[in-house]
Structure formats: C-alpha cells, structure tokens
C-alpha cells in the first residue's frame, strides 16, 4: 500500500490501512498524508469503549490518486481528557468535532464553534454515550407526557 510507504506504519485491514497512534501524533500524521496526495478528509468518527473507559477517535482519509483509505485511530480517556482540534488542516473537521462534542461530550481544544448542533435545548448527558439509558429516558420524558383528553371533541 502506498500509504504504508508514506507513513511507514499501520496494518492492512479489509483493504484499508489502520494506524493506531497516540493523540499527540495524529496532527503530524494527517499533515504528512495531506502533503502526499491524501487530499480527501472523509470523516471523523467516535466510538465509546465503555469497558475500557475510553473514546476512540478515528480520522478517515482517502486518496484519489492511489485509491486508498487510511484510518488513523487514537484513544482518549472517557473522563477528563481532551483532544486537540485539527480544523486548520481540513476545515470540515470543525463540523465533525462539533457533532462529536454534542453526541459524546468530547472537548476539542481550539475549536471555537462547539455550539449545540442537532439537539436544541438538550439538558441531559450526551445521548450517544453508552451509559445513556435510552429506554429510561423515553419513559421519563415522552411517555410521562399525558395525552390530551376531551370527551366532547371526539376525533
């Protein structure tokens, strides 16, 4: 794989290069790839490994020249650890970081735009965390709202 030659590490998984790194190394790696024709930042995703107490952040990159997909994965602690914002490398990272902040509560230092995104007026814990009890939430919020009864005005 061309990507492996460029960065000299990682393993091939299902035709993609999967690179596990520390969070300090992510910036340098993405920068190197960007300079070597990996010009498409596909997405940034987050996985909640609740048993390990960690969040996994995966940065996906794609090259049109080599037709290769690279996944750069890093793990941070669920509580009390923050990630550096990389939106100066690819501007679209800003929006992905904004979404992950809302859905998982991961803070990205340097991103000025971590404002509410999809959820308006959300007062609870971030809903995509594994310890968010969805069924209990439904029971407390939506099921506790009473139906509007009116015997005169039948439907």
């Amino acid at each position: 794989m061309k990507a492996k030659e460029i960065i000299g590490r990682g393993e091939e998984v299902h035709g993609r290069l999967y690179v596990k790194v520390e969070k300090q190394e992510v910036r340098e790696l993405i920068k190197t790839l960007k300079e070597n024709k990996f010009q498409h930042f596909v997405m940034l995703s987050c996985i909640d490994w609740i048993d390990d107490g960690e969040f996994e952040l995966v940065y996906h990159l794609w090259s049109y020249e080599y037709r290769e997909h690279v996944m750069i994965s890093t793990r941070i602690k669920r509580e009390g650890e923050e990630m550096e914002s990389l939106h100066d490398l690819f501007p679209q990272i800003e929006t992905y970081e904004r979404e992950i902040k809302e859905m998982y509560g991961v803070n990205f230092i340097g991103n000025e735009r971590l404002t509410p995104f999809f959820l308006e007026g959300w007062p609870h814990m971030p809903p995509m965390r594994k310890d968010f009890d969805s069924k209990k939430f439904i029971k407390d919020v939506f099921e506790s709202i009473p139906p509007v009864e009116d015997e005169d005005e039948g439907i």
Binding site: F118, G121, I145, V148, D150, E153, I155
Partner: protein, 173 residues
Amino acid sequence: MKYEEWSKISRIASKKSLWILHFCTGCGAIEMPPVMTSRFDMERFGMAPMATPRQADVLLITGYLTVKTLKRVIQVYEQMQDPKYVVAFGSCPINGGMYWDSYNTINQLDKYLPVDLYLAGCMPRPEGIINAMMELMEMIEKGEARGWEKYRKNYEKYKKNQEMAFKFGKVEE
C-alpha cells in the same frame, strides 16, 4: 337558512377540494410523488399539493418527528386557517415506530397536535394514502374531523405538553 344547514353544505363542498401540505419529515415523502402524479393521480379526488400552510387544508405528517422538527410543525400548523385537518402517516407518529426508543423522537403525535386520522403502515402504499383521504373526506362531511376545534379548546393543555417535549422533561414550575 340556518347555520347548521349552511355549514353542512359548506362541508360537502370543502371535502371535494382538499389542498394538502405535506410536511416531509421521514420516508413517507417518497410515497407522495406517485400519489400526486399520473399513476395514482390524486387530483381526480379534488386534492392538490399546496406550497404554503396558509392556503392548505390538510397537514400531512409523513414520518417520524424529532423534537426539533416538532417545533417547526407546530409553527406550520398554527399558520393554517380553520378548518384544518392533520393526517399522521405511517407507524412513527402513532407510537414511534422503529424509532420508539430514540433519544430525540417524539413517540406519539397526538399528545402535541390533534390528529384527525392515523394512517398505519411502514410506509403506507399510495392506495392506502388515497383510501385514507377518502376516509377523511367522509369524516369531513359528517363533521367528525374536529381536531382543530379540539386544539382551540384545549390550547393550554397542548401548549403545556409541547413545552414539556421541547425541554426534554425538565420544566420548571
């Protein structure tokens, strides 16, 4: 002529000219184009799609609603002129459908808006939609579709429910 007699005539006339505003929230929007166009041709029943809420008679909620969308639906509904009817489409507005345990999907639409007719299915076929519309026309003629009166009468209760949903259950008394 008495008011009751006149309103009966007006209902018979209005049931044959329903202008529909389809609020395309979920997958139900996909079923609407065949209903509107030549294959199923809803215009032969006097129904036509309408672009604005202020000229529409029927509000079609075509799928699941998140809390964020519900706010917009309520704005649209309150802009419509009386008499107005709400048809809830598919299983999602009935009890949440496949999104019943989602953190952001309201499960039952008629807690927040008066629904005149529920149309079950996931999604309902165009035949089902036309059948529901015929049913709605019959209800209008008989004077059974009175959701808009219910909304006026119980406005406070509806507003309270809506507010509870917007704040995700955390309402300060």
